[in-house]
Symmetry: C2
């Protein structure tokens, strides 16, 4: 299994995906094509064009799922997958609608490299229950691809001590997640990513991550650290 789960796809002042070209190239070693899933955004064609331009720098040809005559066949034939960010509820709804949830799970578990960013990172988890997105559409289930046995909160934000806003901080939200769920949650800040294979979870990028476990104080992790997240109960143990 070979996963690269990015917090976000663009850093301020940089081109789309530019901050993560090195780990993307590493995950795609030996492959020159990618199947891109643009369904988290409404504008599939515009999104595919952005990703094509970003990946051309790495010499990778991008096919976009929205152009495939048969999405199931396209995923069956894909040599690598990239699911982009946008709205997680819309993305998961469309993956169910195209009957791709189990198939993507099988293919990635079988070795097809998977890159996700933001919403594409959320759907790689057991459920989408730690997304930041607005529930603009109702998916058939919150259960997602289940590629990793924990939850991720992308775009993780530390509390702002100067804010008078009364909405919950991100940390409070993840604590509420743990009032209802047992799985660990990794809050990965913008510019960070997790590089995952069958035996380890490696934290990459610049900004670090914060790990939340039920009934425990959160722990802070620096780039280059391995996170102890794979020795967990079976997947899809949703509440």
């Amino acid at each position: 299994m070979k996963l690269l789960l990015l917090s976000n796809s663009r850093m301020p002042g940089m081109a789309f995906l530019a901050h993560a070209l090195e780990p993307i190239t590493e995950v795609l070693t030996g492959l020159d094509s990618l199947l891109f899933v643009p369904h988290a955004l409404a504008d599939h064609a515009g999104y595919a064009s952005t990703v094509r331009e970003a990946m051309s720098a790495a010499g990778v040809r991008v096919e976009s799922l929205h152009e495939a005559r048969d999405p199931v066949e396209a995923v069956r034939a894909a040599r690598s997958l990239f699911i982009g960010g946008g709205n997680t509820f819309r993305l998961l709804t469309e993956l169910y609608g195209m009957d791709l949830v189990s198939l993507i799970h099988q293919r990635v578990r079988g070795g097809v490299p998977y890159i996700g960013s933001s919403a594409g990172t959320n759907v790689a988890c057991v459920t989408i229950q730690t997304t930041n997105d607005m529930p603009i559409v109702e998916p058939p289930s919150f259960n997602a691809l289940g590629l990793v046995p924990f939850n991720i909160n992308p775009h993780y934000l530390d509390p702002n001590p100067d804010s008078s806003h009364q909405g919950e901080t991100r940390e409070q939200r993840i604590r509420e997640f743990h009032e209802m769920n047992d799985r660990p949650g990794a809050g990965i800040r913008e510019g960070s990513w997790l590089r995952i294979d069958s035996t380890r979870v490696l934290l990459g990028g610049l900004a670090g991550a914060r790990l939340f476990r039920k009934d425990q104080e959160p722990t802070e992790h620096r780039p280059g650290e391995e996170l102890d997240l794979l020795d967990l109960p079976s997947l899809h143990d949703s509440p």
Copy 2:
């Protein structure tokens, strides 16, 4: 119909509900008891105690739904309702679990005053699709109480021009809601509320609101304005 839908329940430096005691007292005119629904938070007893203290200033006795032997009977007997804030997904899941969704709809449509704050405001709408909350638990449906024929985004936040955060702004999120849904969405800032009866929606509080309609530019509204939101198609026209 008599509704008071608050953006939030506490302003910085003020006691719980203190900023909204005047409209609360007005909505409860002639009534000295309130049935409080604490289920958006995990700590029902602590939450009920906070609300009891806040309402004692107004001479209103608070019964809390978590103490009722029969929740259905308690809602049937209630002379007014207050649903507090917390996590909207948890709140709606518990309302369905107690079989209260239709009953609350009927009672409020029949004239029982309803006060909601934050999550309690979200569930008053047709659906919870403009909540800011994390989907920590999966409700049977996103359809909510349907007391008003539009959506509300409480704790509405204007974009911060100094922020380099790459997550969607609130306005972008509501635009995405309108990529998938037709209903108007009212973004009500902290300290604001909507006072609604069968014929009008009045914006109260200090901070104003921003109104979003599909395929239109958002409009800005000041306290004291009436919002043109009741002449809408029938309820539960969810996507």
